[in-house]
């Protein structure tokens, strides 16, 4: 028989008591796991939206307020004004983007890598209602917006076709085959998109040349979206290089914008973590308390052990082993409770964003709980080790 076996036997006999002792640990760890899990879900959600909604990089005219909406994130305001970029810049943007991506990934190949989607935003009236008409490069736009699904009809094939966003099509009562006039130029509705939940739903898309002709903006684009489908792509560097080499444009890496948003999340997260830390500290005192009363309850047992040859260190060890058991049990339950809490509370805080459990938090949660339980037990264990045998029997 070993010392720890004595502890295990004792602990299994007093399961309820141990659970009660673990409560402080469970609450502390659960709060921290919940905060971290929800925080991570929020972060994943933002990055996920960035992944889904388009570009890594947006090139805009140097002076402008173009609204580039990325999913739920507003990344600026749009003023459809007279500020445009010359189409002539497109090859240079591609050259810079492809060049730097190839360099970063070590690719030696002449093919195009980045998706470069120019857009021309124009205000127009269709059937008496004003709507934003977006000139797009059909092929590049399709590559960029992989989530686009055609509800009716087909995708843009010819110059005289238009594609309706779901809500725009409903509002304007457009259907496939309808002919509408854009600033006097007639186009046919080729298809209607399914709802995407983004600004696309309110817009009407035409091939960019058609838009340029109809609105007399030959050779001009409002913005260029650049998408490099790799996580290691040096988007910030590409943006910097574009800004340095092409006059009159302003390139912004979307991740940079996102990071501002993240910074906010981060502050909130840190505040919540601090609160969770306080919970943990309070939980610690709870453990100290329960352990002290556990020492008191077991004065007799401790006296017996001392009388039959236990040293002070062995008494301390017995309590520390117990603390480890409490810590592991508390960490386990704390992780489970915290994760469940995140599942319940997360969607309420993050507007329905789904929360998923984070296995990476499991072992740190166990470690945290164990360290906490051990620290909380140091003083009670010390007290237990000072118990005098004669006193312990007298107190009966």
């Amino acid at each position: 028989m070993k010392l720890y076996q004595i502890v295990v036997k004792d602990v299994t006999r007093r399961k309820k008591r141990m659970l009660y002792a673990s409560l402080g640990v469970i609450i502390g760890v659960a709060t921290i796991v919940a905060v971290l899990t929800i925080g991570l879900a929020g972060e994943t959600n933002i990055y996920g939206q960035l992944e889904k909604y388009g570009a890594n990089l947006v090139v805009m005219p140097a002076i402008s307020d173009i609204d580039v909406g990325l999913g739920g994130l507003s990344l600026g305001t749009l003023a459809v004004g007279e500020n445009y970029i010359s189409e002539d810049n497109l090859p240079q943007v591609r050259q810079i983007a492809d060049g730097m991506i190839k360099e970063a990934l070590g690719i030696e190949d002449d093919s195009d890598i980045a998706t470069i989607a120019p857009r021309l935003y124009m205000g127009a009236e269709i059937k008496g209602t004003s709507v934003i008409v977006v000139g797009v490069d059909p092929q590049q736009e399709r590559q960029l917006k992989t989530w686009w699904r055609i509800r009716e009809g087909e995708y843009l094939e010819h110059a005289d076709q238009a594609l309706g966003g779901a809500i725009a099509a409903d509002l304007l009562q457009l259907s496939v085959g309808d002919k509408v006039a854009l600033n006097g130029m007639e186009v046919t509705i080729a298809g209607i998109l399914e709802e995407t939940g983004s600004d696309d739903d309110y817009q009407v898309f035409v091939p960019i040349e058609t838009a340029q002709q109809a609105f007399e903006k030959e050779g001009l684009v409002s913005s260029i979206d650049v998408r490099a489908l790799c996580s290691a792509c040096p988007t910030s560097d590409i943006a910097g290089s574009i800004n340095g080499n092409i006059p009159g444009v302003q390139a912004v890496a979307v991740r940079q914008i996102a990071e501002t948003e993240m910074g906010m999340m981060d502050k909130v997260n840190r505040f919540l973590l601090a609160l969770a830390g306080i919970t943990l500290a309070v939980g610690c005192f709870g453990v100290v308390n329960t352990m002290l009363s556990s020492v008191h309850e077991r004065i007799k047992d401790i006296g017996i052990m001392r009388a039959v040859g236990a040293s002070r260190n062995q008494v301390i060890k017995i309590f520390l082993y117990e603390a480890i058991i409490i810590g592991v049990a508390g960490g386990l339950l704390g992780y489970v409770v915290g994760t469940l809490l995140a599942y319940v509370v997360g969607p309420l805080i993050l507007d329905g964003v789904p929360v998923s459990y984070v296995p990476e938090y499991f072992f740190p949660a166990l470690a945290l709980a164990t360290v906490m339980a051990v620290i909380a037990t140091v003083y009670p264990a010390f007290r237990a080790s000072r118990i005098k045998v004669a006193d312990s029997f007298r107190s009966l």
């Binding site: 010392l3 009388a307 040859g309 005098k388 045998v389 029997f393």
Partner: protein
């Protein structure tokens, strides 16, 4: 082997002061079976506690095999409890979560030396409880629990056994069985000091010391001691 020189034990201070032991001197030789008898409150349990280093002295000296043990530090006292002196209590004082066998193994566990369960099983057999090895204390009768406690005391092979009212919670028949066991241990050469308030129980010992108000009032050598 055990020499007690004018020891005193005082609890509390000032007007609340209680003198539990007052200049008690005593000699326990190897192979003795001594009963300390007295009414409750006479200081007999205190005497037993200070003899074994479970409680501190106010003054005086306790020598075990010629060496002082009253001023030893905790670690040295632990060594004595692990080897030379063992206790048997009125309340048995078994650990309720452990089986009879595990309770007997407890002192060996604290010694952290290599040991086999067989040693504890042999001792349990010796006290007649080999069939009860896997029972918890709550499943054992008082007499059986005291046998387990005695087995636990024997497992480290002590030369001195201190017993505090070992039969106090038992009927006469069971008490006599326990005393027979003590007699047997005594015949093996172990010294036994037993506290009791029962003259009949005390009659089993070879020597009798009468304690009253913290002082020894009489010492009787009993030739008829160790009667079966």
């Amino acid at each position: 082997m055990l020499e007690i020189k004018t020891i005193s034990k005082v609890y509390g201070e000032g007007p609340a002061k209680v003198v539990a032991l007052n200049s008690v001197s005593l000699l326990v030789n190897k192979g003795d079976f001594m009963a300390i008898m007295g009414p409750s409150g006479s200081g007999k349990s205190t005497l037993l506690n200070v003899i074994g280093g479970l409680d501190h002295l106010s003054s005086g000296e306790v020598l075990l095999d010629g060496e002082r043990i009253d001023n030893l530090d905790e670690n040295a006292l632990v060594d004595i409890r692990r080897g030379k002196i063992a206790y048997v209590f009125q309340q048995y004082h078994l650990i309720p979560s452990l089986t009879a066998l595990e309770n007997v193994l407890l002192p060996l566990t604290f010694c952290e030396a290599d040991h086999r369960d067989q040693k504890a099983l042999d001792i349990l057999e010796r006290v007649g409880l080999e069939r009860r090895a896997e029972h918890k204390p709550s499943q054992l009768s008082g007499g059986e629990q005291q046998r387990v406690a005695i087995a636990r005391a024997l497992v480290n092979d002590p030369s001195l056994i201190l017993a505090d009212e070992p039969t106090g919670n038992m009927d006469r028949k069971t008490g006599n069985e326990i005393l027979a066991l003590f007699n047997e241990l005594n015949r093996e050469g172990r010294s036994i000091v037993m506290v009791t308030h029962d003259p009949e129980i005390a009659g089993h010992a070879k020597a009798l010391v009468l304690l009253q108000d913290g002082q020894i009032v009489d010492r009787i050598s009993q030739e008829g001691g160790n009667k079966p």
